[in-house]
């Protein structure tokens, strides 16, 4: 039971963190629960389909189908996160102002809900397919352990949901007028981390075979995964900010490149708006 709990928790934690950030980033946007739920639902459905066709996907592209599939959906998520941030750069200031005056009911911002729902769907799909394969394997073997595994799985799911809630309510303690700039940075780092993972996926699939030597090794300080509390902390940071204990050159390039690209795009979108001069705001 414990093994099942740990496996499901490990997989669910990533999706849980992302759902928490997305919920915070869409704070006050109407019908966001519907969209986020739709993302989760589509992700679970997709996970079952991917698990069902695991053999077929694997066999594609000379055995690199799985890696290419992972890299592709990661890049899709990076694109969606970028779109959200860039859109917010154009409209976020106004939203934040309305939130302060009108309270939490902001009807704007629905457009990027689609993008964020896709990000949620992708996160659930990636981790979910592994859970489905694991649970299917247990079910196929039958035996007395199935019930215990199911219990463990459900507990793992609950723990993942708790992480999601903790992330969300933690972010909500940030004052409303600063919330969007914090979630904006979280989303930028999330995207950068996913870009770096996409690079690794390509490399594991036999593509982009350059700059592959690890630049440094901090696994002695904080392992990126594995057993124990440190392993879980490392894994959470891996998801949140793309922490890697042994990043290679191309991963770092993708990571930094994504941060630079998103910020540049946000700046470009922001430019035509009547921005108050760069003079410091008068002290109140």
């Amino acid at each position: 039971m414990l093994a099942a709990l740990i496996i499901v928790f490990r997989e669910v934690i990533e999706a849980g963190l992302i759902v928490g950030i997305v919920l915070a980033a869409t704070q006050g946007v109407a019908r966001r629960s519907l969209w986020v739920s739709a993302g989760i639902g589509a992700g679970v459905l997709g996970a079952c389909v991917v698990a069902g066709f695991a053999g077929e996907i694997s066999a594609l592209f000379e055995g690199s189908g799985q890696e290419l599939f992972n890299a592709t959906i990661l890049i899709l998520a990076v694109g969606m996160l970028t779109w959200h941030n860039v859109w917010m750069a154009g409209h976020g200031r106004q939203m934040a102002r309305e939130m302060r005056t009108l309270g939490a009911q902001v009807t704007a911002g629905q457009r990027t809900l689609t993008a964020l729902a896709i990000v949620v769907g992708v996160a659930v799909l990636r981790e979910g397919s592994e859970v489905v394969l694991f649970l299917y394997g247990v079910a196929a073997q039958g035996g007395l352990t199935a019930g215990a595994v199911l219990t463990g799985g459900l507990l793992g799911l609950a723990a993942g949901a708790a992480v999601s809630a903790a992330m969300y309510f933690g972010l909500l303690t940030i004052p409303a007028h600063r919330l969007f700039s914090v979630t904006g940075w979280l989303i930028t780092l999330l995207a950068a981390g996913m870009a770096s993972q996409a690079v690794l996926s390509f490399q594991n699939g036999g593509y982009l075979q350059f700059w592959m030597m690890p630049l440094w090794d901090t696994s002695w300080l904080l392992p990126e995964g594995g057993e124990g509390v440190l392993g879980i902390v490392g894994r959470m940071l891996h998801t949140l900010i793309g922490y890697s204990d042994q990043p290679n050159g191309l991963q770092l390039a993708a990571y930094l490149g994504t941060i630079v690209a998103i910020n540049a795009l946000m700046r470009i979108v922001n430019r035509p708006m009547p921005v108050p001069a760069a003079a410091p705001a008068p002290a109140e």
């Binding site: 690199s64 799985q66 397919s129 073997q141 036999g206 075979q209 592959m212 392992p223 594995g226 042994q246």
Partner: protein, 107 residues
């Protein structure tokens, strides 16, 4: 320097995915890996071909090798290892971590 490495990079991208690297066989049966120790040469890319003889899927999982690869039951999959520094790199079958354990030793 940068130009040279970009050129080399372009060549490598075009040339891949070639399986010219040394290849090692790994078999999973009854949720145990054989051999449980794989000795590879450090500093060059290596490939492990994992054959899963069980009925259910298994995920070859290694934090230190930076690999997560699902291999469905009764099929095989190639696991590409980056050039490794000398050392021990444990791996496991995530779905049966109690029995499915192994280690890559780069030397």
């Amino acid at each position: 320097m940068l130009k040279n490495s970009l050129f080399a990079a372009a060549l490598l991208v075009i040339a891949s995915p070639a399986l010219a690297s040394p290849t090692y066989q790994l078999t999973l049966k009854n949720h145990r890996f054989t051999p449980a120790q794989i000795h590879v040469k450090a500093g060059i890319p290596n490939v492990i071909v994992m054959t899963n003889n069980d009925d259910t899927a298994e995920e070859f999982d290694s934090t230190s090798l930076k690999v997560e690869k699902v291999v469905p039951g009764h099929s095989s999959g190639s696991i590409r290892l980056r050039p490794l520094s000398p050392g021990r790199y444990p791996f496991m079958g995530e779905y049966h971590a109690q029995t499915a354990q192994g280690v890559v030793i780069a030397e």
